[in-house]
């Protein structure tokens, strides 16, 4: 009887997730498949699912255009990695400060931190643009990377702060008794114990930087510095019927691969990391 229950339970589990999985994955799978259709099939009406014949026209076109998707890839990679480093740096430091240290004005600053998430980016664009112009940093990667080092992602700071706050005070008390100072406590206790949160920061920051097309578009003028996200837009024409579907989908698939790989690597540590922190239960 118990066994029947278990099998039924498993069946339901697989069924529900299977159906939902198909719903979630379908657009995404179709995108990949369209990337392997010929130009004619990809643009045909009604749109079809399965490539017939299979073709790498999309990939050839994507890589051979003057825009050189290979270079876009490098640019995206560089920017995203720098943003990850910057985010880890700023969000751990700031999160720790807010979680553990007391100072006058702290609540005010914390409110300010939360408030920054509510600023519509469209409107700070022009002033920020002027500021960078004055520094002469336009058409460089600085406007794309600097914000991460300066902690502009309140999300990441907030996240780290929550995780830091959850560490029992006894641990730092103990360390303090042993004579460690603030920085040492930070580096040797807090940072290693919040790996799961750090992986969230890494993943989300990387994905955000990788997919961002507005900032690179605005701050870069030299097309050889463009990122993948910007390059993709060139395959979607301004007028209906001028979208070149096969290269668009092919390059989109290509753009997605690093994130896929990153996720597959990271997720092991992400989930398991939590279970082994020895903090809970």
């Amino acid at each position: 009887m118990m066994r029947m229950r278990k099998i039924a339970g498993a069946a339901v589990w697989y069924l529900v997730l299977g159906v939902l999985g198909i719903l979630f994955a379908f657009p995404f799978v179709w995108m990949i498949l369209t990337g392997f259709q010929t130009g004619k099939q990809a643009g045909a009406y009604p749109p079809t699912l399965w490539p017939d014949p299979w073709s790498i026209y999309g990939y050839i076109k994507g890589f051979s255009s003057a825009s050189a998707f290979g270079r876009y890839f490098l640019n995206s990679a560089f920017i995203s990695v720098m943003c990850v480093i910057g985010s880890l740096f700023s969000s751990t430091l700031t999160g720790y400060g807010f979680a553990r240290l007391k100072a006058p004005g702290k609540s005010l600053l914390f409110t300010a931190l939360l408030a920054t998430m509510m600023i519509p980016s469209n409107v700070t664009l022009l002033p920020i643009y002027s500021i960078y112009a004055k520094f002469g940093w336009l058409d460089t990667f600085i406007p794309l990377v600097l914000p991460s080092f300066l902690g502009t992602s309140a999300f990441n700071i907030f996240l780290m702060r929550q995780f830091f706050a959850a560490i029992p005070r006894e641990i730092d008390e103990a360390a303090r008794v042993d004579g460690a100072n603030m920085l040492q406590i930070f580096l040797s206790i807090f940072v290693p114990n919040t790996k799961p949160a750090m992986f969230v920061v890494v993943l989300f920051t990387f994905v955000g930087a990788w997919n961002d097309f507005f900032a690179p578009l605005v701050f870069l003028t030299d097309p050889s510095k463009y990122t993948l996200a910007v390059g993709l837009n060139f395959f979607k024409g301004q007028f209906p019927g001028t979208t070149d579907y096969a290269p668009l989908m092919a390059m989109a698939t290509f753009s997605m691969l690093p994130i896929l790989l990153l996720f597959l690597f990271a997720q092991r540590y992400f989930i398991e990391g939590i279970a082994t922190t020895g903090l809970k239960g």
Binding site: K40, L126, D222, G241
Partner: protein, 441 residues
Amino acid sequence: MKRNKLLQFFSATLLAAMLLSACGSSVPNSSADTSAGTTGQSSAQEGTGQTEISFSFWGNQEEIDNKLALVAEFEKQNPDIKIKPIYTDGGQYQTKLQTWFSSGDTPDAMGIAGDIIYDYVKTGMFEDLTLRIENDGLQDSWAESASQNFVYDGKQYGLPHIYHVYCIAYNKKLFDEAGLAYPTQDWTLDDFTTIAQALTKGEGSEKVYGLGGYGAYGANEYIHVFGDPTYGWEDGFTIFPNGTDGFVKGLEFFGNMINVDQTTPGPDSDANDIGFDSGRFGMYIAAPWWISTWQTQIGDNFEWDLVTFPKVEGGAWYARVFPNGMGIPAASQHKDEAWRLIKWLCADEEAQAIAGKTGMPNLTSYATSDEFKNTLEPGWKPYNKQAFVDALEHTWMTQNTGIFDQINTIVYNEFPNYLSGSLTAEAFIEKIEAKGSEIAE
């Protein structure tokens, strides 16, 4: 442990990407010095006597490739000028314009469209080219109507480069099946209505429509059709400068087609996503940017050709024109070189031949030449290109995207209300006029 693996992963991807980028063609003028200055900065390189100028334009991948080919050819013919191309996709060009002009840091030569520059011309951001045109004897190089698109207050700020304009494409197979003669240049509006009715047949997902293609762009196409624009730019901004008769006529004519005859899909019909290549439309609004897609997708399925809009008694059916041109920002440091570039792009037959792949060339001498008439992309079937040239006789342009955008939002969104009967033509006009007075403030 984790750090190692992450590092491994990233170095592997970087290596792969490097190999890939080596396969791709090199991007022109990639600057090794990434902290180089701003766009306007052009350097005279020592010893070679070369001046570098920046040139901005927009487009989808094909158009970009085309412009880059033009740039390469120009550089070949003018070894003392080096061009730094700057480009975005069509939708984002205006964003870039705003950032360039607001920081005062503009390219030396710019691709422009007739309707995006007026707000900038008004504030003196563009160089007046009238004198240069006269000095080089270029006044008659382009059709009067084409040049007019870049004239503001009697001064010309841009040279016409290429344009897109609407015509009607017709499906010969469907015409044959309905026993109809193919339309000629002299066909009338009544002919058109009759033909549309005769071509429409079927129901639901099998339905064949008499006309397609306007629905996708919304009501603004219909209401400009009889020539009375919703706003004018001649003496400053006026709403309905020619009165509202054409507007009402357009509403009625197309309202009829959509509601009564049902010969064309309404704005809320999904048939608007269907292209001419599907064979579901007897006639279709054609623009040069469609030709490439149609040639590929239609292939041998059916024969088709182009014709200008039908004649209207006492008026005309105006075709929307999208003029693309070249201009020079007032802040450019290299106006002479920029002038040489844009002059070549717009008044040189060889340049126009290259540019003609992505739009209709503006240069009269080339557009009317046999060479152009007989040029056909490899694998393409011949079609009546001349229709696009003849269509220039009666055109309208959006003139000012900023204002057009505000008015278009109303027109676009209220048209379904007009169609359903909940909004009368008068009330519709009132709404537009209200917006107009708001803008005029």
